[in-house]
């Protein structure tokens, strides 16, 4: 199914669409290997508030998408936080929509290596190993976000 949605970005519904798109392509993700990671996307809005979306990756799929309350602990195994301002997130998503996949300067690695505009933050005792998991599953995560090319993003801002 190759439909688009008018769900707002960011929202649980929007990220769930990416998870659904991932589910429809098991062979593609199977080739990239299993994922065991809880990726928390922290999106900082211009007015000072933040939203945290928790994506639970298990095996070849994104099994859970939840919006975390402000002070809620992060559920799931091997959590790592990927944080940045709404503008940076929107820029990434719009670039993916425009090109069908992230171009040379909008890949997850490109955006996080200099710690700007997105930043990886550890969230557990064995934190560096959890951060390393972001590198370990990077191609799968990139393909997951590239699914945004099929999901129409309408900014919440």
């Amino acid at each position: 199914m190759n439909t688009t949605t008018m769900a707002d970005f960011p929202s649980v519904r929007w990220f769930q669409r990416l998870a659904d798109a991932m589910d429809r392509k098991p062979e593609k993700y199977r080739r990239l290997g299993v994922i065991d990671l809880t990726l928390v996307l922290k999106i900082d809005f211009p007015e000072g508030r933040s939203e945290r979306y928790c994506l639970g990756f298990e095996g070849y799929r994104c099994a859970r998408v939840t919006l975390l309350a402000a002070d809620a602990p992060i559920p799931g195994r091997h959590p790592v936080v990927l944080e940045g301002e709404l503008a940076a997130w929107k820029d990434m998503v719009e670039n993916i929509e425009q090109h069908g996949a992230a171009d040379l300067t909008h890949t997850l690695n490109y955006l996080t290596l200099p710690d700007w505009p997105l930043r990886l933050v550890a969230a557990s005792d064995e934190d560096q190993l959890d951060v390393d998991r972001f590198y370990r599953y990077n191609e799968s995560l990139q393909e997951f976000f590239n699914e945004a090319a099929q999901v129409t993003a309408r900014s919440a801002a």
Binding site: T107, L113, P114, D127, Q128, D132, Y135, Y137, E139
Partner: protein, 225 residues
């Protein structure tokens, strides 16, 4: 890019040889370790193949080998026991190469190179995670061997720092990071940031394994200008 790929080709030879050297010596009771090492040999073979092909693909070819690389690789392959060898290779060398792959993806001028570095990055992170967990397991059962690991890492750190400052290793990265030969100074600033990240991540991984080298690390946090 050809010089960077030449260096990576050189490194990947030993990254495959080292687990092959030790795999048959590992007792069959640790069969998961043997299986993992077999997968690593396969990974490194593919890395060697892809970097060699990339160096040859556009006519640039394989360029200069590095004495610093040879010194580090010799220390790894001649390490006296498996845990020492693993600490040197999986945590120190592959930890640094993991950042190098991330940097390669960042600097890659084409989609093909980006994909090469991303896929290699995934493999490398798996090897680093194994090395950290192995050292953690080992030190928890043999705390009296800590000093032995400290000593070999000190040697490895001095070697890898010297290697990183050799012109044939440093210059191509400065040119790629700066965006041209005339913008190497800009590249130096970016590489200095990356160097700090590399060292911090290395020290953090060792801490997770139960080894604190914050005060003993032979690699300066500030990259020499």
């Amino acid at each position: 890019m050809c010089q960077l790929c030449t260096q990576l080709t050189e490194v990947e030879f030993i990254a495959a040889d080292l687990p092959a050297k030790w795999m048959w010596r590992v007792n069959h009771d640790f069969h998961e370790v043997k299986l993992f090492l077999a997968t690593q040999i396969m990974d490194e073979a593919r890395h060697l193949e892809v970097f060699r092909k990339r160096a040859l693909a556009n006519g640039g070819g394989l360029l200069q080998a590095s004495p610093g690389s040879e010194a580090l690789l010799r220390a790894i392959i001649e390490a006296p026991n498996y845990t020492v060898a693993s600490s040197l290779m999986h945590i120190l060398a592959e930890g640094f190469v993991l950042t190098l792959f991330r940097n390669g993806e960042f600097l890659a001028p084409t989609e093909v190179e980006k994909k090469i570095f991303r896929l290699c990055m995934q493999d490398e992170a798996r090897h680093v995670a194994y090395g950290v967990k192995h050292l953690k397991y080992f030190l928890a059962r043999h705390p009296e061997r800590q000093e032995e690991i400290h000593e070999i890492l000190a040697v490895g750190e001095e070697t890898i720092f010297a290697l990183g400052t050799e012109p044939q290793n440093l210059e191509p990265r400065l040119i790629l990071a700066g965006g041209g030969v005339d913008r190497m100074q800009e590249g130096m600033m970016r590489m200095a940031f990356l160097h700090q990240k590399q060292v911090r991540e290395y020290l953090h991984r060792l801490k997770v394994a139960g080894l604190d080298r914050t005060e003993r690390c032979r690699i300066p946090l500030e990259f020499p200008q």
